[in-house]
Symmetry: C2
Subunit: 206 residues, 2 copies
Amino acid sequence: MASTEIPDIVIGRLPVYLRALSLMAAAGQEITSSHELGEKLGISSAQIRKDLSHFGEFGKQGTGYRISHLQDQLRRILKVDREWPVALIGIGDVGQALVRYGGFRNRGFRIVAAFDADPAKVGQPIGDLTIQDVATLPEVVREQNVQIAMIAAPAKVAQDVADLCVKGGVRAILNYAPINLAVPEGVRVQYTDPVTHLQRMTYYLV
Amino acid sequence: MASTEIPDIVIGRLPVYLRALSLMAAAGQEITSSHELGEKLGISSAQIRKDLSHFGEFGKQGTGYRISHLQDQLRRILKVDREWPVALIGIGDVGQALVRYGGFRNRGFRIVAAFDADPAKVGQPIGDLTIQDVATLPEVVREQNVQIAMIAAPAKVAQDVADLCVKGGVRAILNYAPINLAVPEGVRVQYTDPVTHLQRMTYYLV
DNA sequence: TAGATTGTTAATCGATTAACAATC
DNA sequence: TAGATTGTTAATCGATTAACAATC
């Protein structure tokens, strides 16, 4: 079976599956099973099979899944069988780390434009790029058909930056600023904040 | 009411509530309601009230919640009404950004030890700290009673680093390496990987 | 073949929501 | 007071799991 409203929580697990598969593939492994994958990820094998069954039949009874095939399928489903252009806003410590991060390549993304509001930074080179004035963002991302943005700007201006992104046609935002963004329907936001992650664990400490 | 096995998904929302409250407080606001908070976060007001009801009664009928009081309560519940010492392993781009990040203070955390495996880095200053040899980690974190670690080391060695952390008594790990860690029962891991976040959104793009 | 593992169904489990009495 | 909002209950909704026929 396939289609008809896949739960978002299922979509959220697919990148995790894909990452685990890539690790296995890198180690030279060719076949895996829902049981093995579940073991590695702390997820039940039934859940993995159920999740995958939303999209089709990718395994073989008695054998399991050919890793390369399942990777291909997951990449296709997640639409990362291509290279998405990404805009990065805020070239501070986090922004610089993101530019230098080698993990985007081959996983579906490339930073194609970097922005900052600081006149001292605008015009400076960063990696292969030149830092552009954030005021020009809507125009630039629209021209380059950029649908994805990463916001690493200070919290104070993050909402303004998000507004500029939306104005330029961005539909997906990864927000490093520790604030909740208000965006129109149809624009997705993911948050990443080390403190929030840590605070989620302290509850369980003594 | 209180206690008796709070669902982890509820715990996961508390830091988000706390962050939103801090933002309101910073803007000079003194009172809020479950409705307003839910509006800001894209969560139903009923869910917020239900979540809070696991821990006690923090509001007032007809009025809502006094923000400073709810902040205090959430900080107490999450155990971030203190300052947790944190170890950081891997002083590359991400590690450096974390050391310079000002957002830990006042939110419950302080990096008290920085480690790297590179002999050229060991002994170098980073912020207020000196980079230490990762081989000494178990000893050092045990001495300083560090229960929380952030791993920003390369994927290849992240599991080894996690093992050292566990050996030193660490019970909570925030992992920036794009791999799933195997840890013993009782040790919590949170993952943060920009690519995984982005891949979760591309599914919805055209 | 015998053993293993899939894909799927039905049952269970848990989380979210709607509604409202209590009350500030 | 009148209006508003909490805390909580019961109902709904959705996700996870157990189990197994199908079959490699």
